[in-house]
């Protein structure tokens, strides 16, 4: 057991000393955000409690999806990888709730920037193919704007007021 630990330590230290590659990393993807906060926000409005119809549920769900862009630099030591990256997330959603006296159009924008330090390990499964496992921690800053426009019945076109949070 001790021999294994010593061997693993020697391998790790030698990997750290002999950096093989420096990589410029660019990632793009999407992430699914939890919907809880949007539901709770909607419950501020009596429309939801009154069992009013929530229109365009597909667009309503869209708020949960966020595009993400990641740009970073990493140092690769054999199978180990250490890096730092900047991340940008952007999400936008539109939805409408309506009852017999008014309609409320909601528009929410959420953007966030994160700086993340990460570490990873690659397991070779073929000559040029690897299984990658990685984890990271960091700090983020989010910016959000919610705008809701109340429109009156019956046309739902006459704007009563515009609110921004």
């Amino acid at each position: 057991m001790k021999l294994k630990i010593i061997t693993a330590s020697v391998v790790l230290i030698s990997n750290l000393i002999f950096c093989q590659d420096i990589g410029i990393d660019f990632n793009v993807g999407y992430t699914k955000l939890k919907m809880n906060q949007v539901n709770e926000y909607l419950y501020n409005f009596d429309l939801v409690d009154a069992g009013s119809q929530l229109y365009n549920p597909s667009k309503y769900n869209k708020i949960g999806m966020s595009l993400c862009f990641e740009l970073g630099v990493s140092a690769r030591f054999s199978q180990f990888k250490f890096g730092i990256s900047g991340n940008y997330f952007s999400s936008n959603g539109l939805w409408e709730s309506r009852d017999t006296i008014r309609a409320i159009n909601h528009n929410i924008d959420v953007s966030s920037i994160e700086i993340v330090a990460s570490a990873g390990y690659s397991v070779p499964i073929y000559k040029t193919a690897f299984v990658l496992l990685e984890g990271g921690i960091g700090y983020g800053f989010a910016s959000s704007e919610i705008m809701y426009i109340t429109k009156s019945y019956p046309s739902y076109n006459e704007v009563e007021n515009i609110n921004t949070i």
């Binding site: 793009v28 990493s74 690897f130 990658l132």
Partner: protein, 78 residues
Amino acid sequence: MNGGYFTARLRGGFEAKLKWLLLRFVFGYRYANPVVLKGESIINGEKNENQAVLDKSGDELKFDFSGIQYVWGISVLL
């Protein structure tokens, strides 16, 4: 409205090496510490500074940006 939060992630996936280029697909979970976003608001014509979004009971609403993440990427090896 804005606010800062701590974040962590755990991801796994596949990488393929083509000479000086790495192609990657990973997916995992991104945790973000729930945060109260505060800022300027205009409600019924009334302007407020440092206002948070409130839930039905009047408590400040925490926004949770955690979620499953899918990522495609490339790395250029120098």
